[in-house]
Amino acid sequence: MIETELSRSVKRWCKGATGVTGAAKLSGGASQETWRFDIVHPDGPIGAILRRSPKGYGAAPSRAAGLAAEAQLMQLAFEAGVPSPRVMHVLTPEDDLGTGFIMQRVEGETIARKILRDEEYAAARPHLARQIGGILAGLHRLPKDKLPALRSRGATQEIAEFERDYRSLNWPKPVFELALRWLRDHDPGPAAETTLVHGDFRNGNLIIGADGVRAVLDWELAHLGDPMEDLGWVCVNSWRFGEIDKPVGGFGSREELFAGYEAAGRKVDPARVKFWEVMGTLRWGIMCGGMMQRFREGPDHSMERAMIGRRASETEIDLLRLLAPRGS
């Protein structure tokens, strides 16, 4: 039982803690798991989350920053006032829990469709696009000298990497070829300023409450690069969950996003944002292809993974809407 190891761990670093209860796995693949649990404490229970790679799964996939870097980034973000859970403990070998970290549990909703439809979030929704702009500005301003070691990726390298990923699928898709040509023709080159890029900042990776964004999650694709990448990715149509006329996560307009970003003292380059939106749409399409390949060849023979393979066509229609709009 994981509660035995967790109890032993919390007693060591959480003053007054006597154990844990209610451990439940929230999500998990072969290499990474998320658990929720409560720390038993005389002042009342403390909600906590464990993110870990179980023992024997230390190696992170090539694009991932790794759990140690993730913990460091979340703590930095928390200290800088970017909505983020407080990191309570980074796992050590004596915890006997694998590698990863334990953080404070932030209550709220992450399921995008609920956030976009439920009455509970109706008052928050009109403000989210602008709020997200401000949060991204804060995130892009995190001090570079305090960041963990991260891979560095500019537009030119990303195009080459996605092209390689796509060709390795051996999956001839004329619309993806068209998008790759467009990206090469519109490659903006190195950014004027390289910053921390979250890498997966979108509706679905944010904890939202009636009062707005409470936490930014899933920092595993963080890297150094063009800050406009995050502004483009949050606008990719797949993350609008049906609210296609509200580009920013289905919440609001690009103008609101940009206004929030600039009000926080940073500059937007709309042409670069558009470039990264096209790139992001293709990126999700290629990821769908990767899911299909892993479904076919890998140990995860799940129906969900198979069906994500069939979502590649949604990125094809969205790429056509971006690059070859009808009636224009």
Partner: protein, 125 residues
Amino acid sequence: MQDEPTPIELTKAVADFLRSDIAPLISGHQAFKLRVAINILDLVTRQLTQEEGSDAKEVERLRALLGMDGTVTELNRALAERIAKGEIDLTTPGLAEHLWATTLDKLAVDQPNYASYKRELERGE
């Protein structure tokens, strides 16, 4: 020639059974998995119904565009290569129309409720 009912009719019968008789009995993660399973069967039914017609039209457009013959897979591979080499692009007459028609046919099978697809259908072909 195989006997009937057809694969379309059989697949549809299984999907209807799962939807009407089994779905009400289960909950939680298993219910989620069942919904995915039913979605798969519905997708297969749509593909079995539509693929033959849409592939034939796709091949016809590809032949005209490329000036060559082949299976739908071979022709798609050839088009992908020519776009990659820059020999065909959006200024090539017929390319945009072909990609739109092909993509709309795919969405009709994969995700007929996808919002961008529904928007483009309202716009008319």
